[in-house]
Symmetry: none
Subunit: 159 residues, 2 copies
């Protein structure tokens, strides 16, 4: 894909293969997140390297996606590829409203604390309150950092 086109076949050289694995895996993760953000979708990617290491990332969480997939797969006989097609858009959201809000709040950078907070108990509230305090400090610190560096743009292609 770049300075020279390559065939999609096993890369024999260990070092090269590992480098490619790392780069492409990161690219996949980035694109997975982009898809979720752009389309209000939820997904996860799980990859096992040849060495057996696991790399997974997902929105809202890999476990959530996996569990839901398994639940549906049972109904479908566990096919390699499940389809639901695109005609009946606007079906019931798979996630609860609260989950969606949290996802949006956190992943999308927009907060919907109202609903989130409403579902917390006393202990969680106390904990969360201090966390919010801390979060505020970090945001402020980062803001100063940005101002100090004289830049107001986004450092890298971050999502």
């Amino acid at each position: 894909m770049v300075r020279r086109k390559i065939e999609i076949k096993l890369i024999e050289d260990d070092a090269k293969r590992h480098t490619t694995f790392t780069k492409r895996r990161k690219g996949l993760e980035k694109k997975t997140k982009e898809l979720c953000h752009l389309c209000d979708a939820e997904g996860a990617i799980i990859v096992f390297s040849r060495a057996g290491n696991v790399y997974a990332c997902g929105n809202p969480a890999v476990n959530v996606i996996v569990d839901r997939y398994l639940a549906l797969a049972e109904d479908n006989g566990g096919e390699d590829r499940v389809h639901g097609d695109a005609d009946e858009e606007e079906a019931a959201p798979p996630l609860t409203e609260m989950e969606k809000m949290i996802v949006e709040a956190i992943e999308g950078g927009r907060l919907a604390w109202e609903a989130t907070v409403r579902n917390l108990g006393l202990s969680e509230l106390a904990e969360l309150e201090s966390l919010v305090e801390e979060a505020k400090r970090k945001v402020a610190a980062r803001a100063r950092e940005v101002v100090a560096s004289g830049r107001g743009d986004i450092p890298d292609g971050g999502i």
Copy 2:
């Protein structure tokens, strides 16, 4: 990515969002397969559209990948120890206490304030800061509410 750059934010228009979803999903599937072939890896990608439809593909099979993932996740007490996760790598700063606590307090999912904040520009920071402020007020308000009602449990399952 093309005739005009777009920001990675929810696409409001239904038709456009769906088109993008389809194209990007296919692109992801293609790249997932390429990664597997190039690096002798095994992986799967699972995506739920907003409508709740599932799209999954993997090598050797989604179920195999999913099962192996779950087996590993169990040994590790969840996905916390799994390599890649949300917005940044494990290589980067480890989870802060704040992150861990928020994760626990809210959903058991994951987020990475540190990484998120690090990728924000000035305007986004300003916005986030005010949101954090607001969140703090709401948490406090809710805390008083809970105390007043003499209960510390969760109102109801939904929202």
